[in-house]
């Protein structure tokens, strides 16, 4: 339903906005990763593209970091939906966004 889509989108933006920027605490990072993974897996395939297009350049780079973090620690159904997020994020961020996941000094 449209109301559910709106909630998922809002949760997504909140997760992106409140991503811990500079923390060294592994616990804080893991909590953020868990939250982000929950939000990403709660999306329906058809809703992903709209969510990605609502981000700015930095947002897309940040999303790509979380996607790869999600690949690192796969759960039962996470990889399938993450691959769909990856395809949409790649279309907007290009290969450069993946390069910046690999070269980042501050990881998520």
């Amino acid at each position: 339903t449209r109301r559910r889509t709106g909630e998922a989108l809002r949760a997504f933006h909140t997760a992106i906005r409140s991503s811990p920027g500079n923390t060294r605490s592994q616990a804080v990072k893991e909590q953020a990763q868990g939250t982000m993974l929950k939000v990403l897996t709660s999306f329906k395939s058809s809703e992903i593209e709209q969510a990605v297009n609502s981000l700015d350049r930095n947002g897309v780079d940040l999303l790509m970091k979380y996607i790869y973090k999600g690949f690192e620690k796969p759960t039962e159904n996470s990889s399938a939906i993450l691959l769909q997020w990856h395809e949409k994020a790649l279309a907007v961020g290009g290969l450069g966004s993946i390069i910046r996941v690999l070269t980042a000094r501050k990881t998520v």
Binding site: L83, L95, G96, I99
Partner: protein
């Protein structure tokens, strides 16, 4: 665009003579080969053999016609043409790692060498001893210096390093020049003075370039970013996260426009908007001919879906002129403020000459400011 395939191996580095009739290049070995243009053909006219390691940098001084080369053998040689033979003079750089890049200063009375020894050797000729000597710029460089470019005042030198930073140093040598007058980068310029240092990006700085006026410096890093520092705006840095693979070479073609190229095998235009202090992507300059779109059979569609998780018909072969990464760009005519032609060489062993006017008329959306 004129593309010439010189080799089947990468061209490590290249340099042009003053009237652009000859090109000196390293064919991925310990030698430097000089080719001369004969109509539409290129003929090899000289082979310079002196280095004991790969030649990593070549620069050709336009006025004095001297060549300088540097290599992984930790040496640099200054070559002078005597009759029809190039004679080398060894320059002791006092480094214990490979030399990576070399540039003549604008007045050609000095040259700078960047190396894996985490320092820059500034070399000048000492008349009384008839010998090239060098001074070192060390602090605060923490890793290999990959690229260098001189400011038009012959004193300031920009250096890009593997420690992720772009820096501008003073390379003032009192033995060969007068005290420089103040610039937007600062007024006190004793040798080795750090005039500017960028804050950390996250990638090795592959290439760095001053604008023609010297008041702007641009660099490309391995994290797929392009940055520009504007001395006219208190050294404010504008940066652009590109959608491309990392860029390896960059040059100004006007005071506001840059051409960069790298692992995407294709030169690209970038524009600096001074009023807003932003950089933007201006388009790819290598537009391939339209490949014929043939329809896919249902079987092929299914195979694509299975193999690549998408059913688009994109070709697996490269449509660009260069078939491998472009590693160096040089301005041929017009200078860095009104460039009308530039040259690219790459890991495919090819060299291409690009004409700016032709690009502007062929690519309708291209705006070079």
């Amino acid at each position: 665009m004129a593309y010439h395939s010189f080799l089947l191996e990468p061209i490590s580095c290249h340099a042009w003579n003053k009237d652009r009739t000859q090109i000196a290049l390293c064919p991925n070995n310990h030698e430097v080969h000089i080719y001369r243009k004969d109509g539409t053909k290129w003929s090899k006219v000289h082979e310079l053999k002196e280095h004991n390691g790969q030649v990593t940098g070549i620069d050709w001084a336009p006025e004095s016609n001297r060549l300088v080369t540097c290599g992984t053998d930790r040496n640099a040689y200054v070559w002078t043409l005597k009759g029809n033979v190039w004679k080398p003079t060894l320059v002791i750089l006092r480094i214990n790692r490979a030399a990576r890049c070399v540039k003549w200063s604008p007045k050609e009375n000095k040259f700078a060498v960047g190396s894996g020894s985490r320092l820059i050797s500034i070399c000048y000729f000492e008349q009384e001893n008839d010998w090239w000597v060098c001074k070192h710029i060390k602090k605060p460089i923490r890793s290999t210096v990959l690229s260098l470019d001189w400011h038009p005042n012959n004193v300031l030198l920009a250096a890009g390093s593997c420690d992720f930073k772009c820096r501008i140093f003073s390379a003032y040598i009192k033995e060969v020049e007068e005290r420089p007058s103040p610039t937007p980068w600062g007024s006190k310029m004793p040798f080795g003075e750090l005039m500017f240092e960028s804050s950390s990006s996250c990638g090795w700085v592959h290439s760095i370039c001053f604008s023609a006026s010297g008041s702007r410096v641009a660099w490309v890093s391995h994290d797929s970013t392009l940055c520009l520092a504007d001395a006219g705006k208190k050294m404010a840095v504008a940066s652009l996260c590109t959608e491309t693979l990392p860029l390896l070479a960059v040059t100004f073609i006007t005071e506001n426009s840059l051409v960069a190229a790298g692992h995407d095998c294709c030169p690209m235009l970038f524009t600096y908007e001074e009023s807003q202090g932003t950089l933007s992507f201006g388009g790819k300059l290598d537009v391939p001919k339209q490949s014929s779109q043939r329809g896919l059979t249902a079987r092929e569609r299914f195979q694509n879906l299975d193999k690549k998780a998408s059913s688009d018909t994109a070709n697996a072969t490269l449509d660009t002129l260069h078939k491998n990464s472009i590693s160096q760009i040089s301005v041929l005519t017009g200078g860095k403020d009104k460039c009308s032609q530039f040259c690219t060489t790459g890991m495919d062993g090819g060299m291409s000459i690009w004409d700016v006017k032709s690009l502007e008329s062929a690519l309708k959306d291209l705006k070079i400011k």
